[in-house]
Amino acid sequence: MGTTLVIAETFGGKLRKSTFNAVTFAKALAAKTGGDFAIGLLGSGVAGLAGELTGYGAKAVYVADNAGFANYLGGPWAKAVAALADQAGATSVAATSSTFTRDLLPRVAARMGAGMVSEVLSVVDGTKFLRPMWAGNVVATVEVKTPKAVFCVRGTEFDAAQATGGASPVQAVAVAPEDNGKQRYVKFEAVVSSRPDLAEAAVVVAGGRGLKDKAGFAILDPLADLLKAAIGGTRAVVDAGIAPNDLQIGQTGKVIAPQLYIGVALSGAIQHIAGMKASKTIVAINKDPEAPIFSVADYGLVADAFKAVPELVEEIRKIKGV
């Protein structure tokens, strides 16, 4: 029993695809509890996106379109989401893990008096869930003891829901952010990239400290161009300012599961492996044959990246005929 309210995430006026991973989670939970789910869409000028959410079997799509939602701020948004959950009669709130939802959902949980499970990997039953601890080296079963619950779902563990037809009713709700004047938005500096989103890309090329500097890191560009890949990095290259923080893969960065992951000149620290070990095919290129990354790689090549990567580009060009 009970209704799960899935919070849709938008970015730059578009729906993030990760919204549909949380829909799959909500369906899995409903299957265990005999409940159902609804979708909540909050934002400024988002009403036009509601139509993209109606074909997934939600009992309703609630839209809170308010100019006050133009920029995200944790406190005001949490009050609004909790109010929407209340209006929707929801017993739980769920969303796919991102920096937006990780910031928002604990506040929502505190407001609802709900237990919260971070990075849900799977649904055991209506109250028990699996989640990773210790950088994914432990899988814990956790039990929610409260009548209400909040879930931050690991997107790589729940396939994006496919549209099943049907037409969920769209309902505009008068939920607005309650700004108490304690916080204000200043600015956002976007990392502009023509590459696919790291969290959604089918192919990811990741570089490590072995590439030395920005010029070294740039040897990944032709390979990523050729494979239409996203580029990612280890914490070390982000700390060194070689790559922007948005590209960090790992325990405290992004968790990815592409079809093909190519790790170049990175050793494979526990924290990095935590973020990419669910990839379908893993390739590692490193000149150190003892590098831990080889223990999770399907194909390991012991080689100097500065020689091997240009060669790899040439060989792939040959078979692709470009």
């Binding site: 505190a110 990773p132 814990a140 108490n180 916080q183």
Partner: protein
């Protein structure tokens, strides 16, 4: 400025963690413990703010007596005093942790509460946000920069898609990300000095905190292991395998 800052003890972030055969926890034999890396960033930020603006930084943690070693590290980094609340790590969830910290905040009434954005053992990333909501304070999580001016903390945040800047009125809750700063190493004189700094021990009962959990961890298991692959000798062999075996190209 008065700053409250967390100093959580965690298992060595680079240690290989193994689950006990009976699934009741992790093997702790031979494990070393360190300060949570994100708390180190928070402590560094707190201490350097006090150096700049005056005031005091108070390190707080929750745990049994053995966590005091790590709390002393926070004192050696420059916190003036420390508070430990006595309850074992496995008796906590994020919510209870937050409710205890809320009591400490209410007692100390700091201008700023700095926390690590997540502990690298539980990996929940909830406590700062929970504390902020329970206290109805503004939050700025995942901070990569903090400037205090005109009664506000102007915080740059590392988020998906780029870097955001927000301003939160003090008192506020800020959680530290790794790029916030480079934590200092305590000097030997400061380590010695830290031994004499005040360390107060409280209990949940004395704080009036109900220790019931909202989320209990009931079992631990090892994750499925990826089976090891092969080493290829040449780039040509790699491309051949990717094309014909993995069908990944």
């Amino acid at each position: 400025m008065k700053i409250l800052v967390t100093a959580k003890r965690v298992t060595d972030p680079d240690a290989k963690i193994r689950v006990k055969p009976d699934g009741t926890g992790i093997e702790t034999a031979g494990l070393e413990y360190k300060l949570n890396p994100f708390c180190e960033n928070a402590i560094e930020a707190a201490v350097s703010m006090v150096e700049k603006h005056g005031g005091e930084a108070i390190a707080v943690t929750i745990g049994t007596a053995d966590v005091e070693q790590n709390l002393r590290t926070a004192l050696a980094m420059g916190c003036e005093r420390a508070i430990r609340v006595e309850i074992a790590d496995d008796q906590l969830d994020s919510d209870l942790t937050a409710r205890i910290l809320v009591k400490l905040f209410e007692t100390e009434k700091p201008d700023l509460f700095l926390l690590g954005k997540q502990a690298v053992d539980g990996d929940s990333n909830q406590v700062a946000q929970l504390v902020a909501e329970m206290l109805d304070l503004p939050q700025a999580c995942f901070a990569s920069g903090i400037v205090i001016e005109n009664g506000e903390a102007v915080v740059t945040r590392e988020i998906d898609g780029g870097i955001e800047t927000i301003a939160v009125k003090l008192p506020a809750v800020v959680s530290a990300d790794l790029r916030l700063n480079t934590p200092r190493l305590p000097t030997l004189p400061n380590v010695l000095k830290a031994k004499r700094k005040p360390l107060q021990v409280l209990t949940p009962a004395a704080l009036g905190v109900d220790t019931a959990l909202k989320v209990a961890t009931v079992a631990y298991e090892a994750p499925p292991q990826r089976k090891g692959g092969i080493k290829v000798k040449t780039v040509q062999e790699l491309v051949e395998k990717l094309q014909n075996e993995a069908k990944a190209l």
